[in-house]
Every structure is written in C-alpha cells, then in structure tokens.
Amino acid sequence: MLELQNVSVIIDNKKILDNINLKFDETKFYCITGPNGSGKSTLAKVIMGIIKPTKGKIIYNGIDITKKDINKRAQIGISFAFQQPITFKGITVFDLLNFASEKILSKKEACLILSKVGLCALEYIDRVVDNSLSGGELKRIEIASIIARNPKVAIFDEPEAGIDLWSFQNLNNIFKDLEKNNQGITIVISHQERILQIADEIILLNDGIVVKKGNINDVVDLIDNKKCCKQVNYE
C-alpha cells in the first residue's frame, strides 16, 4: 500500500498541494483528474521523489520513503511516465529501454516491448530519443520505458495525450496488463472519459486539494465538460 499523509507542497509561498491524504491499494487502478494547474503532475512527482514535499509523509508498504532519493524509489518499484517525455542527445530507444530494464535486454526483447505500445519496433529501436521523433512517438517510448521496468507502482502522467484514437484501446490494455501481471498499483493522470470509466477509483483534484474520491458517477456531476474535465463545480 502507498500512502500520502498530510502532504503539502509550497513553492514561492504558493500552495501547490494542500494537505493531501490518499491511500493506494495493490491491484487497483486509480485515475487522478482535475483542471490544468490543479496539482496532478506535482502529486505524481512527489510520489516519485522528484519533488520533496514541504510537509507530510509518503509511506510505501509500511516504510517512510519521504526522504528517499528518486533512484532509490525506482529500485523499490515506483515508476513514473512523464507528461512531457525527456529527450536526449545520442541515447537511443534501445539504450533507454535497457536502462529501464533490470536485466540486460536483447534487441528482440526490446522490440517486443515497443510493439506493446504500437510502435513498429525495428524502425525505432536504434533511433535517438530526441525531437526528430514525433510527439506521439515520444509518448509511446516513454510508456515503453515504464513497461520495461515491470513496476509495482506505475504512474502515468496523461499518457493518452497526443496518442491517436486508433491506438487508444491498446493503451487501456497496457494499464490492465501491468496491474494484473505485477499485482501492483496503477495511477493514471487523465482527462479522458474512457480512462476514467475503467478506473477503480477516481481522485478529483482542484487547487491542490482532493475534492472528491469515488467512481465515475460520483465525480461526473462535478465536471462541467465531461470530455475534457476542464471545469470543476463545487462549493
């Protein structure tokens, strides 16, 4: 179980996250949603250790990991797919998947992972992870790097952004697979109704506060525009 206790993040006197209390259970699929700037990515980065909370604790399987570095959290099974994938100079897709994987991957194994995210593997495996790849391609490679880790806690930050509808169903299968195979926790940040629909629990954030937890019916009324969840009505 992953637990956030009274987590606050304050940057330049601005409360980005305000006293967040959440529990995530194994074998469950969570969806975090909320308007732009509500603190979703910040929350994910706090779990990964990229941002250290100003206040509060993060407990994973009974251990306080609040002070653990990013790579130490990665080693205990936490992983995070960036909203904006990072590009490199000279590091190839194959290199990246190999860094991600615990064991040394053969080209064949790496290709298999790429095909899961719908990329024709041989065309991409030796490409450099830079801006010569399209936005959607980079996004898929980012997701592939998480699959290669076999994580126990997988966090995806708007994974569907920039991915064509045609591949969308595959994406949902990837989340389901990860959750089943690893008996782990899957957390997806999303505005997409079709992702919200498959979630076991939806967490609605606004202004750094958890407004609501529940299933799609519980949160749907709070969301003005169902398609993109841009507006939240609550008193």
Binding site: N71, F80, I86, K89, I91, D95, F99, A100, E102, R149
Partner: protein
C-alpha cells in the same frame, strides 16, 4: 602486447594490416608500409612525411596511417599529402597515440593536405589519444587542409577523448561547385587540458555545402575553444553547430563567424554550452540509475 601495439589499439588501429595500404610511423620513423595497385605511398624527399596517391576510379580503398610516439621529449612534425583521383572512393584512417612516462614534453604536429579531384569521395577518420604518468606534456597540433574540386565530397570524423594536454586543431577547406564537406568532431577534456579547434571554410563554388558538428565535454579544470569562420562566396549552404557540456570547473569558449558575400548564401551557426540537463538526469534516475551513473550515460550518449 608491446607499447606500440597497445597505443595502436587505443586509436583503433590494431588491424591496420587488413587495409589495402598502410604506413606506420613510430617515434619519427617509418616502421611498416604496404601499397596496392590503386594506392601508392611515397616518402617525401624534401621534408618529413608521405605522399599518398589514390588512382582515378579506385572503389572502396582503405588506407591506414597511424602515428605512435612513446619516446619522451620527441617533437615530430610530418607533412602528409593525399591526392585523390577522379571518381575514387576511399576511407583514410589516421590517428596519433602518445605515451609519455617521463618529464620531457612530447609533441606530434601532423599537417595533412587533401586534394580531391572531380567526383572523389573521401571519409577521413582521426583519433587522438595520450597517456603516461610523467609530468611531460603531450601535445598534438593537427592541421588539415582540404581542396575540393567539383562534385567531390568529404566526411571527417575526429575524436580526442583522453590524455592530450594541449591541442590546437586547425582545419581549412576550399570548396568548388557541388561539393559537400561534413565534419563531426568530438572532444572530451579533463585535468587542466587545453583543446582549441579552428575551422575556416570557404564556400567558393555554386551549391557548395558544409555541415560542421562539434560535441564536446569539458570537465575538471580543462578549457576548450571552438572557432569557426565560414565564408559564403556563392550560392551555398553551411550549418555549424557547437554543442558543449561543462562540468566542475570546465570552461568553453565558442566564437562563431559566418560571412555571407553572396545574396544566395545560407549560413547558420548554432552554439549551446551548458551543464548536463537536470531533467535528463531525473528521467534516468527514475529508471533506477544513480546520479553518477546517469551522468556517465548522458556523456557516453552525447559523445557516441
């Protein structure tokens, strides 16, 4: 393995004997040479060095000309000229390894001139390496001059990764119609090394083009300088990019100069210098790498 063989290995020249032609120079003297019906190598009469003649229409020839210095205090200056025939296509592998265990300074200055005939195609690969525990400096000052006739093309890959205390690398090129010159340079410096690189490219012919890419990493107390001067005298294209990572106390100075003297000249210079990008480090750390491992991976990729 003796010292010479070991140094050959460091500049990737171990299997020189497989080449069509070669010339091995060690401590200022010729130690081995092979020529082929298409490739001739002759010792110069008036000064140190060789003339390499590639016959017209030579297809896929490989020439190896490594230089090794293992004697402390030796200053070796050589003049090598390459005459590339029409339609010839060759790979020329050069490099210099210096081993200096003593306190005297060792230096190798190679002055290479390339004369490319019409339609000639050359790939020139140069590796530099220095080592040794002595206080004696290891200095390399290569000069490369390139004269390109119409429709010829040349690619230069040069790298210097370790152990050379002082380098001044000068490259000058004169391009005629429809010629292409591509230069990829990679430099890694540490300690208090100095590496300077200067390019002068004159695009004289119509549709002459050049692409120069420099990737360098300056660590510890080292200093690097990148100077380029591109002159467009015709309808031509140039793209120069200098990309440097600095670490510790490393310093990098980039001086771009592009001079368009023709309204159809299209000249671009990009330069960026900075430390390793924080978000790249963070991404690799989220994949389980320590900060140090992540840095090494980024540097390795950058210089690949």
């Amino acid at each position: 393995m003796n010292k010479t063989e070991e140094m050959l290995k460091f500049i990737d020249a171990s299997d020189y004997q497989k080449s069509d032609a070669y010339n091995i120079r060690s401590n200022g003297k010729l130690v081995d040479r092979k020529v082929s019906p298409y490739i001739n190598i002759e010792t110069k009469n008036d000064k140190n060095g060789i003339n390499v003649y590639i016959k017209d229409d030579t297809k896929f020839g490989i020439v190896h000309i490594p230089v090794i210095i293992t004697k402390s205090g030796l200053k070796d200056v050589v003049y090598n000229d390459f005459y590339i025939g029409k339609n010839a296509n060759v790979i020329i592998l050069a490099g210099c390894g210096i081993h200096n265990d003593l306190h005297k300074d060792s230096e190798h200055d190679g002055i290479h001139r390339f004369f490319l005939s019409e339609n000639a195609k050359v790939k020139y690969v140069e590796k530099h390496y220095g080592e040794g525990k002595g206080s004696g400096k290891k200095t390399l000052n290569p000069v490369t001059e390139i004269y390109m006739k119409p429709n010829s093309s040349m690619t230069i890959d040069s790298s210097q990764f370790k152990g050379v205390d002082d380098t001044l690398r000068v490259t000058k090129a004169y391009l005629d119609n429809n010629t292409t010159l591509t230069i990829n340079e990679k430099i890694f410096t540490n300690n208090s090394q100095n590496a300077k690189s200067e390019f002068l490219v004159e695009l004289n012919g119509e549709n002459a083009s050049t692409k120069i890419t420099s990737r360098s990493i300056a660590t510890e107390d080292s200093y690097q300088e990148f100077k380029s001067n591109i002159i467009g005298n015709n309808k031509c294209y140039a793209h120069v990019s200098c990309d440097a990572i600095i670490k510790d106390n490393g310093k990098v100075l980039a001086i771009p100069e592009i001079f368009a003297k023709n309204v159809d000249a299209n000249l671009i210079h990009e330069a960026s210098i900075g430390k390793i990008a924080g978000d790249q480090l963070i991404k690799l750390m989220t994949l389980g790498l320590s900060k140090k491992e992540a840095e090494e991976a980024i540097i390795k990729g950058f210089l690949k």
